[in-house]
Amino acid sequence: MMLHLNKDTARPNNKRKMRRSTRVSIILLSIIVIAAIIGPELSNWQPEDIDWDAMEQGPSLAHPFGTDLVGRDLFVRTMIGARTSLTIAVIATFVSLIIGVPWGAFAGYLGGRVDQFMMRIVDVLYGLPFILLVILLVVLFGRNPYLLFAALGAIFWLDLARIVRGQTLSIRQALFIEASRSLGAHTGQIVWRHIIPNVIGPVIVYATITLPSVILAESFISFLGLGVQEPNTSWGVLIADGTATIESSPWMLIFPGVLLVTTLWCCNTLGDRLSDHRDEIQRNPVNL
């Protein structure tokens, strides 16, 4: 244990020495994000263009990722899919922040009965097969992409609320909060101006962990045919198409699959590293 501590305290001093896995995941993730932004522009094909001479063809010079059953270029479709998947992930994570952070902050700050009641709701919701409820929502209200964002965000705020509440509990007795209370600031002001800015660090760390879960949830729903719809596409849709034709054209599964796995791995690695780093800073604030 002693040895471990020493190693950790030594690290923040030489910031240039990043772990190799961290560097690799930052680079890979940047490539994927840039590809999602400019990738579709690089290709000669449009996502809905049909190449009548190349239906269900493997990777070639003209089509680096091959083509699908009706001859659409898979490179450009995979890039568009990346765009959709990443956008949904970012928006849904944002929605979960908007719900989770104030919920946790108010519960932690107000304390007592209110806290118990609010966290009891979180506990009850926690045990539910939430993704099934999201599917139910999608079934009932139609396949509206905005609804999908909101519903996904509504699953992932629970953890955030718990984390923010924990952090709030640790600072609610702090002097600066007592001071602003004695100056007559009301609850909303204290939570908004003093508590939320002070808990934002762990929130950002947790958001990086939420991101891959949202990507996964979106691809899961789209895989089942209940999320993003043709002619729009996402990784989940592409993987579903690839699964259907796995015997005749495995490349349709492999390219989007590899991209999805790489993205998840990078996000997980970065999330782990960020939370390690935060623990270090908390242990010895001098190094800040």
């Binding site: 244990m1 009850v124 919701l125 926690y126 045990g127 539910l128 097969p129 939430f130 993704i131 099934l132 409820l133 599917i135 139910l136 929502l137 999608v138 079934v139 009932l140 209200f141 139609g142 891959p212 996964l216 691809s219 899961f220 895989f223 089942l224 045919g225 209940l226 989940g236 993987i239 579903a240 690839g242 699964t243 796995i246 015997e247 495995p250 599964l253 699959g257 999805l260 796995v261 998840l264 791995w265 997980n268």
Partner: protein, 295 residues
């Protein structure tokens, strides 16, 4: 426990009634009196609280109501047809995950910082990032199409369940291995283990009696939330391997907008999760001497 279940049912019921458009909205406009008759047949013309009371009393008697789409079936029959397959798959996957995960975790935890430990954990970390929707089709490609070891889909023999079980179990075994390893490494340093060692207990008694029960506590508490995600995973696995379980009915129902069927599946799933969580709590109390002593 009951509160959770009641919340789910009420939430689901409320959502279904809030939805725009009736269950009978089809391509073709129905004559109004036929639609009125249909609504009356399914009791949709009653006030909402009566419908709620009817659904709840039906549920208490174990009746999930009729299917809105498949006219000759009620939801009970459809779920009863899929339940054995889904439940069997889930239980088998859970045990596979536990055996694999705890085994790997023990191997890694007691041989910390060796080459084997690093290798195991590296494979494991990769495994956590591999979603079922990618792994399951790849397994079909490798083991069914290329190697022809196992059948690709269907549910005719026990061999049809090998690949689905493994596909469903893999992510959990990875997470369980990680937790077991961390638990063992931490427990090894606990004072009570040092005391036991100082008493001169044998290696096996030390491991089985003093280290493992403590080290497995995080695994047990992981199983609760894992049950929920295991169910969602089984929906994908049933889809990929063409198994006629509840998950398939769920997706079909969702695509056909068969409200009652989807509702019924969510209720059954939630009941399964809540029950499972209850047993997890019991197991926790049984394993942890600190909780046991308090009673």
């Amino acid at each position: 426990m009951l509160i959770t279940l009641l919340t789910v049912i009420t939430l689901v019921f409320g959502l279904v009634r809030l939805a725009p458009g009736g269950p009978f909205d089809g391509e073709r406009q129905m004559p109004p009196d036929i639609e009125a008759n249909l609504r009356a047949a399914y009791h949709l013309d009653e006030p909402i609280y009566q419908q709620y009371a009817r659904y709840m009393s039906g549920l208490l008697q174990g009746d999930l109501g009729p299917s809105f789409r498949q006219k000759d079936f009620d939801v009970n029959e459809l779920i009863a047809a899929g339940l054995p397959i889904s439940a069997g798959l889930g239980v088998a996957a859970l045990f596979t995950a536990l055996i694999l995960g705890i085994g790997i975790g023990i191997a890694a935890g007691f041989n910390q910082r060796t080459f084997a430990d690093r290798l195991i954990m590296a494979v494991n970390n990769l495994n956590i990032a591999l979603p079922t929707i990618v792994v399951a089709p790849l397994m079909v490609l490798v083991f069914s199409v290329l190697l022809r070891w196992f059948p690709a889909g269907g549910s005719d023999s026990i061999w049809h369940f090998v690949l689905p079980t493994i596909a469903l179990a893999l992510p959990y075994s990875a997470a369980i291995a990680r937790l077991t390893r961390a638990g063992i490494i931490e427990t090894k340093l606990e004072p009570h283990v040092k005391t036991a060692m100082a008493k001169g207990l044998s290696q096996s008694r030390l491991v089985y009696r003093h280290i493992l029960p403590m080290a497995l506590l995080p695994v047990i508490s992981f199983l609760g939330p894992a049950a929920a995600t295991l169910l969602t995973g089984s929906v994908v696995v049933e889809q990929v391997f063409d198994l006629p379980g509840i998950g398939r009915y769920f997706v079909q129902g969702a695509l056909n907008r068969d409200y009652t069927l989807v509702m019924g599946v969510v209720v059954v799933y939630s009941a399964a999760i809540v029950t499972f969580n209850f047993f997890v709590d019991l197991a926790y109390a049984w394993l942890d001497p600190r909780i046991r002593l308090r009673q």
